[in-house]
Symmetry: C2
Subunit: 598 residues, 2 copies
């Protein structure tokens, strides 16, 4: 089966066919490029690379080096130091304008030659070789493979670098460059001569799209806040004097090079690279510009594209009344819950919790004023700082109102939840245990004085029996004590009777959709297990394990059969009671399904 994304890319390449324009001719190596050579690569932030055309044809990186050199400067020296040397303002000028600020001599931005030469001077290292070696390694780390310099291009470029030499010396005059301008110039030109292919460029762009982490090697190369900085400058200054047009028509951070490459970054999604050596009047690849315009339109890559997604952080909210836990509470507790479960509410959040999302969650919770609020963060990818602060403040407001907030956070997307408070916030690994905790809290808060229920007498199964039948069942049952952690029933075994829990707790383990072990039910005193095997041709489907020391009263399958044989009238009663309890379980599970599957 063919991948439709590959088909789409091939289709647009065909539709955005040969464009006009001329190959750069100021050095023989560039002039010799085949004008009709072409490649388009797209790399996702998880490292999938799509290729159309000659993706592995090599060419010199030229000005596409600039954002990566700037990134290395920021990485080595920090934002403050770099900002003193080079500004971030669009110049409105062509790429080779000197564009130095009057007085200070500070270049307007690092995407023009003067700014890029300055950024090159900010790369740390012991000497020329060390500094260049670090830059080459840096570029290679973004591409995910070792890169080399095209020495032919380097020689030609250096021999004709009159304008850049003038710029370097002018920068030295203003003390923007502090050392030998010739050394900086050589490194700058060597950087521009690094040989890359279109696939390399797509992965370099994807590393920026991925917040500075190389998608294939997984290495975090550049801190995320510095990535924002680099992308900002690419947005306003990356396409020379066509930057404004580019932002309007394409709307993504980009950088072009005179050898015919353009990279574009769609933050959080993909890096794209095009190679086509014919250049337009601005010095940008003509076919590359056409393809980016097309992709931006089709793929809604425009940064200003308003999507509705950021608003809907609240996937759903519902009261515990309609979504009780899988815990089987004994009768009296169950009745309390039937009355007050509506005072606890679950808020299922999802996606990225950005400001607008946190705001709508806060507003909803303030309106609901629940007695217990469960924030289910299972489907949350990331929590913005402001959302974190908002949720912590919301917890404090809830506590002031005498309520409680708990979170379900299996992936730890909300670290250090107790910041700013001395009282620990309950955090649960799954919704089931959070809901169970809420039910326990509600029972504790609302149960009032009443006799402690008897875990055996008050079990639904026993309550349904007449006195004589109950007496017969009690006489037939055997007592069993199971240590904490031990398995009581093994999945795959036969139906082994009804197990009433007198003391302690047990869990039923099943297999989830990905084969992992899943806790299906947690059970405490007054509840029972083992009967479910009746529903699967007498085969025990779940493993039952003690999670505390367990005291059980067991009516074995044999005892049950004997009981019914000896007195069928009692047998009818017992089996009717078992049937009722079975449908009780079924009813709860079906209701829960109706709420969750919305």
């Amino acid at each position: 089966m063919r991948n439709p994304v590959q088909d789409y890319l091939e289709q647009i390449v065909e539709q955005c066919g040969a464009a006009g324009g001329e190959v750069a001719a100021y050095i023989p190596e560039l002039a010799a490029a085949d004008p009709d050579r072409f490649a388009l690569c797209l790399a996702t932030v998880d490292g999938q690379v799509y290729e159309v055309g000659q993706a592995e044809h090599r060419f010199s990186i030229q000005s596409i080096s600039k954002p990566f050199t700037y990134a290395l400067g920021l990485h080595d020296q920090g934002v403050e130091t770099v900002a003193r040397k080079v500004d971030v303002e669009p110049s409105g000028d062509a790429f080779n304008e000197i564009s130095l600020a009057p007085g200070s001599g500070r270049p307007k931005n690092p995407m023009i030659n003067a700014g890029a030469i300055t950024a090159t001077s900010l790369v740390a290292g012991d000497d020329e070789d060390d500094r260049f070696g670090r830059a080459l390694d840096w570029f290679g780390a973004f591409a995910g493979r070792e890169l080399e310099v095209d020495e032919g291009v380097y020689g030609s470029e250096l021999a004709t670098a009159h304008r850049n030499r003038a710029i370097a010396h002018m920068l030295r005059e203003f003390e923007i460059l502090e050392d030998d301008p010739e050394e900086v110039l050589r490194r700058y030109v060597r950087q521009c001569s690094i040989a890359v292919d279109t696939r390399d460029l797509a992965l370099m762009a994807a590393t920026l799209a991925n917040g500075g982490r190389q998608p294939r090697t997984g290495r975090q190369l550049l801190e995320a806040h510095l990535v924002e900085h680099v992308l900002s400058v690419m947005t306003t200054c990356g396409m020379y004097d066509a930057a404004g047009d580019w932002v309007s028509a394409v709307g993504m951070p980009a950088k072009s090079g005179v050898s015919g490459g353009i990279i574009g970054v769609l933050p959080g999604q993909v890096g794209v690279a095009v190679f086509s050596p014919r250049l337009d009047a601005h010095g940008n690849s003509a076919r590359g510009v056409a393809l980016f315009e097309r992709m931006s339109r089709d793929m809604e890559m425009h940064l200003m594209h308003v999507s509705r997604g950021s608003r809907s952080a609240l996937r759903s909210s519902y009261s515990l009344q309609t979504a009780r836990s899988r815990t089987r509470w004994q009768g009296a507790d169950d009745e309390v819950l039937d009355r007050v479960a509506g005072r606890a509410r679950v808020y299922e959040l999802h996606g990225d919790l950005l400001f607008a999302g946190a705001e709508s969650v806060a507003r909803t919770v303030v309106e609901d004023a629940p007695e217990v609020a469960v924030f289910d963060l299972t489907q949350v990818n990331e929590i913005a700082q402001v959302s974190r602060v908002t949720l912590l403040a919301l917890r404090d407001r809830l506590r002031e109102a005498g309520s409680e907030a708990v979170a379900v956070d299996p992936a730890g997307v909300f670290p250090d939840p107790d910041a700013g408070t001395e009282r620990a916030s309950p955090i649960f690994p799954d919704l089931a245990s959070a809901v169970e905790w809420c039910e326990r809290e509600l029972i504790r808060a609302h149960c009032g004085p009443r006799p402690e229920p008897d875990p055996v007498e008050d079990h639904p199964l026993m309550r349904d029996l007449e006195a004589s039948a109950a007496e017969a069942v009690r006489a037939a049952m055997t007592r069993r004590v199971v240590p904490d952690g031990e398995t009581v029933l093994e999945a795959g075994g036969p139906f082994s009777g009804v197990h009433l829990i007198v003391r302690g707790r047990a869990e039923a383990l099943g297999t989830g959709p990905d084969g992992q072990s899943v806790t299906l039910v947690t059970m405490g005193p007054g509840t029972s297990f083992g009967e479910l095997a009746l529903g699967t041709d007498g085969e025990q489907q779940t493993t039952i394990r003690a999670v505390e020391e367990l005291e059980l009263l067991v009516l074995t399958a044999q005892d049950l059969a004997r009981l019914a044989d000896e007195d069928p009238v009692i047998g009818v009663q017992v089996w009717r009671a078992i049937a009722r309890d079975g449908y009780r379980v079924a009813d709860r599970a079906l209701r829960r399904g109706a709420v969750r599957a919305r």
Copy 2:
């Protein structure tokens, strides 16, 4: 309970206290402004407005009019015509620079005075009054209330508008303005003199954040693609010669005015406005800039902020093996499904289906190569065009491979799904019915030749009985025919026995979390209902309704009791069979819960 968002805003206002700078003094009305007046308003895209300070204090809008005038020009004339008159390149110059392109005289962008005067000339209308009236209505529509001109400001501004008058005449000289420059100048100055408060500005910004739809009135004022255009220009040119710094430090489209206002737009989330009349060296509100920098950092408002969310379009995927429908199939069909249900897979998508999301879905489906693919779009907010195309292509590829794709799309986020094909794509209102359809398809495709099962003999309840007991039950049952649409059992009634479906279909209706009627189970021949009431103290919880003409065999509660009384040995068998079937239902429902609640 206080809203923590309100608290947060009050807190940052306190922390970003009085800033330096001077009030604009070129006309008496601005010079007279209280330098310490302050307001911050934040409006969400669903129309909630938070206010701190003097949110209803009025002042003249000044240059914050520019993006809205530009928007009206785009709305009236279209992108092409406007682009011929005014460029979109950052000028790198101060706000009052003439910045006309050499030769053409075209202003660099619509956020500087020359460009805004040009945009004013592009507003359609019969005469000066009509044109200005349209602009005033336009601004008012964004604010959501009728606005007025501050005539004092207008008089002063017009009297001192020497530079702008020079610009207007220069534009006329270049034929960028085609009519009377004085008429355009008057309208331009009047627009700048419209009185607004900070709340108005926040709602105007929120309208841009909301894709051109006013959050409170719901009116779509500006087409979404033109909104992108306006926001692009605000990003690169909105903050005068501090635009690059602004993009790096704040990273959101914005516009400032000399009266002390700044608006910022966070696409899809909020519009923000600050008012504080002290200006910095660039002519931007000093405290406003400080607050925006703070909010951008805290709220991760930066456009380049890489969030992980856009990647995870695939919420989960699982085979039907682990998530069967709530339909009860008769025994033989059930066995077929047990064998082949794994060949159908459900793909639950969520959020905004952007390119990267669609790509990962396509890749996963191509790898799985399922026999039936269910795309559950219930939690999808929006589908980008490229994702739509990708999903349609994926459907075609699946069909080529002999497979089928169906969608669950209750909200119609995927309109016209049959585009480009003659074969209708099955679309379902809920996952349950899609899964049921898949199961039916799988049974049809894989059941092979076998005797038609008997809906009564092969019912699990009957199969579990010995011959004599089965005979007794058959003799005790009564036949009943129920017309299509008629209610068989009413919720709230008593346990009325076991109802075996011989022919036709029935549904069980319950109440969902919001009180709405929800189909809990759909049942066909060979299945039964009524037993669930056993689990709820003998009270029927769901209403059972025929969805086709139904033929039933009913073992009433009375007949069942009589049967057990007359022959308790048979009674034990019957109740054991009922118990087993109850646990069968419970087991299925619990398993489904375990998959869904992930």
